[in-house]
């Protein structure tokens, strides 16, 4: 058992941390939000230079061969900085699909471009009605010669409006909520029949609604075995939840730090408000919630690569429960302890709160995963 980071990991942590602390001040972030796509292309290039866009990919595919702990390190730093760039969408989600199911040709064609920052990808999986059910896919893929024709609509596609290519899930067989029968397809964002409506999300990031009307897919753009994509999607989403858990921990850490500082400096009734015992205990409660979340983000990182899918999902779901609950609690308490100032756009703590809430409702909120976990019999064998 070992909680220490390796030398490489420490270097990674330092270099990402340094870049983001230099380049992600509050005003800088506000400016990035106004750029096309709602993020900084310049920073994206710097991520490429730092190697973090290549991080989880195999060396033979042009990657660095990092693991979930490396992703955890990056995502926690991104959570601290409240990063806008499509790292989760491109590297973790779409990249995860390529890693686990992409053909050698596809990997060779796409991963070097991800790595050098020239390709932004998005995973278009969830739909208006699917909520948190990964098997709920109504978009259809009909066989068409060697390829397929896609029809349907995808919702809340993270960074779908800046992606060059989309990885789209669609049903080749079976009923709408059946686990079997789902395929994954690489779709050019500019392909005929694809229409994309981008929008900002409550946390200042971007997403899109994607409509697919008779979109033709060549055989070379079919990812993996059509009809057998569910295990891939589940695995990638577990990896994404592990990554989001780390991001949330970064966000909570900042909320806790900022709030503790505020308690030390803000004066009321002639003393720093941190003198008031009730506020002290609230800050301690925030600390405990953050540390419990940190512990579970570590568990999620460790278990993201677990071969047993049931054990993997249980651990990640448990982490998501903790992250969701801690994130809400820390966000609400940070806001409450700041009073009015915490509710303003001009002050950073509210933005972290919004991100924490957005993370909770991404890929299933705490109650959803708690119910899943309960249905699976909980964590401990009876």
């Amino acid at each position: 058992m070992d909680f220490e980071l390796s030398e490489e990991q420490r270097l990674l942590q330092e270099s990402v941390g340094r870049l983001l602390s230099d380049r992600y001040g509050f005003e800088q972030r506000t400016a990035y939000m106004k750029e096309p796509g709602g993020f900084s292309r310049a920073l994206w290039k710097q991520y490429a230079d730092l190697g973090i866009l290549a991080l989880p990919f195999a060396e033979e595919d042009g990657g660095i061969g990092g693991g979930p702990v490396d992703i955890m390190i990056v995502m926690e730093a991104m959570g601290r900085a409240l990063v806008l760039e499509p790292y989760l969408a491109t590297v973790v989600l779409a990249g995860g699909v390529l890693r686990h199911a992409g053909s050698k040709v596809l990997r060779a064609g796409l991963i070097p471009k991800i790595a050098d920052g020239s390709l932004v990808l998005a995973l278009a999986h969830s739909e208006r009605q699917s909520r948190y059910d990964l098997a709920d896919v109504a978009t259809s893929a009909k066989k068409d010669g060697a390829g397929y024709v896609l029809d349907g609509a995808k919702g809340i596609v993270l960074h779908g409006d800046s992606a060059d290519k989309l990885i789209v899930s669609a049903r080749v067989s079976g009923k709408q909520r059946e686990r079997d029968g789902i395929g994954l397809f690489l779709v050019d964002a500019k392909a005929k029949g694809v229409s994309i409506r981008g929008y900002q999300t409550i946390d200042g990031l971007r997403a899109a609604e994607v409509t697919l009307a008779g979109v033709k897919i060549g055989a070379e753009d079919v990812i993996g075995d059509p009809g057998k994509a569910s295990p891939v999607i589940e695995r990638v989403v577990d990896e994404a939840m592990a990554a989001l858990s780390a991001e949330a921990v970064g966000a909570m850490t900042v909320m806790h730090e900022v709030t503790t500082d505020y308690l030390k400096t803000r004066k009321q009734f002639g003393v720093p408000i941190g003198n008031f015992q009730v506020l002290q205990h609230a800050a301690v409660d925030m600390l405990m919630a953050t540390e419990q979340a940190r512990s579970m983000a570590m568990l999620a990182a460790m278990m993201a690569a677990e071969p047993n899918a049931v054990e993997r999902h249980k651990s990640v779901a448990a982490a998501k429960v903790q992250i969701g609950r801690s994130g809400r609690f820390v966000g609400k308490t940070a806001t409450q302890l700041h009073g009015g100032i915490g509710m303003t756009m001009e002050y950073k703590v509210g933005h972290y709160f919004k991100r924490a809430m957005a993370i909770d409702v991404s890929f299933g909120d705490a109650d959803h995963h708690l119910a899943t976990l309960a249905k699976m019999g909980g964590l401990l064998a009876a």
Partner: protein, 401 residues
């Protein structure tokens, strides 16, 4: 003891309810139900309808337009208005400065301001909070110095709700810097058109622009705009803040929001069934319904005590109204956010600001205001004395700790 309304009260409730049903403009009602932005025009329109009926300032002294209703009827009126759901008459005029002028203003002030408040001819805002004085209101620093027939006001107010529309602001200002902090404060009425006043909007995390900073730079205010006596403003402010007993729990509003919650949970589907049929979610709704029912009963106890004239000694029941009311409202707003799940994520301010936009909404057409309202309503446990401050007050005043 009979906690049900008697026949007269039931008849009154029916009368009020049917008036609201008939007279509340449909577009305003719809915006209220949907949680969209209620603009200045909506409030003015509605308050004038009420005022025409004689109900805009129902709780005022009858000589200034009040109805003389019993506390129970006042409660029923507010509860039904919130359930309609209708906007409140402008709080800052009708519930705040109006009663202060009635209680402490001079005859000229009454004649000048009260009819205009009732008919919302003037839009009022409140100048109490300052950047340095959050929970410690009495530490305010804005000064008013006498200079001949006027005061010269300098300083800054903040969290001034809807100051962007305001014709007038009522302010607490420091008129005697040398006395103890509560004792040198006066209550001034200031015309917002006076030179030297600047309003700067503050955007809140939900994206709305309700609150503002108001800067005073050598603003000349006629002496006649002083309410009551100089340096007695703190007493008037306490009077004002103490008037909130009936409305503050917002039970009627929460009832209406729960109905909305149930409606949306019947539309939204989880898998093959409506969300309302999900046992977990249904149980969460039931839990807040129980809390709300308890609060409603508690509220009625307070109202009944007022009816019996026992309103002077602190009532343990009344003290919990604000805290519980805010917790319940926040819980409901969180459940409303939860109903739409990931479709709470798209940020669509245009769908909230104006419901006649050209673009269709992203996701369900009821989703846009839900997450922003959740964030916005965090304010409910902060403003008007945070819940922490409320508990301090209860510990001291009721428990003697």
């Amino acid at each position: 003891m009979d906690l049900r309304f008697n026949d007269e009260e039931t008849a009154f409730r029916d009368e009020v309810r049917s008036f609201f049903k008939k007279s509340l403009p449909e577009n305003i009602r719809r915006k209220m139900v949907e949680g969209k932005k209620i603009g200045k025009e909506d409030i003015v329109t509605w308050q004038r309808i009420l005022n025409k009926k004689g109900w805009a300032v129902s709780h005022w002294a009858t000589e200034w337009g009040g109805t003389g209703w019993s506390p129970v009827k006042q409660y029923i009126f507010l509860d039904e208005m919130q359930q309609a759901p209708a906007p409140s008459p402008l709080q800052f005029g009708v519930y705040m400065v109006g009663p202060v002028i009635i209680a402490f203003g001079n005859e000229a002030q009454k004649k000048k301001f009260l009819p205009r408040i009732a008919n919302i001819d003037d839009w009022w805002c409140q100048g109490f909070s300052e950047p340095g004085s959050g929970s410690d209101l009495a530490s305010l620093k804005t000064t008013a110095k006498r200079a001949g027939d006027h005061y010269v006001v300098n300083g800054q107010k903040t969290w001034t709700t809807l100051a962007q529309y305001a014709d007038w602001i009522f302010c607490l200002v420091r008129t005697n810097p040398d006395s103890k902090k509560q004792e040198g404060i006066s209550f001034l009425l200031i015309d917002m058109k006076t030179p030297g006043i600047t309003v700067r909007p503050i955007q809140t995390i939900d994206g709305s622009r309700e609150v503002n900073e108001v800067f005073f730079d050598d603003v000349k205010v006629p002496l006649e705009n002083l309410v009551g006596e100089e340096n007695k403003g703190w007493d008037y402010a306490k009077f004002l803040l103490g008037n909130e007993r009936f409305g503050i729990a917002r039970v009627g509003l929460s009832k209406e929001r729960i109905r909305r919650l149930k409606e949306l949970a019947s539309i939204e589907r989880v898998g093959d069934k409506p969300m309302i049929d999900d046992e977990r979610f249904r149980t969460k709704i039931a839990a807040v319904e129980v809390e709300l029912k308890a609060l409603e009963m508690t509220q009625l106890r307070v109202v009944a005590a007022a009816k019996n004239g026992n309103s002077n000694k602190p009532d343990p029941a009344s003290s919990i109204l604000k805290i519980k009311g805010s917790e319940i409202q926040q819980t409901i707003s969180e459940l409303l956010f939860e109903v739409v799940g990931p479709y709470g994520l798209p940020y669509q301010p245009e769908q909230i600001e104006d419901d006649r936009v050209n673009e269709p909404p992203i996701g369900p057409d009821y989703a846009a205001p839900l997450a922003p309202t959740f964030f916005n309503w965090r304010k409910i446990s902060i403003y008007g004395g945070s819940n922490e401050i409320q508990k301090n007050i209860i510990a001291k005043a009721i428990l003697g700790l």
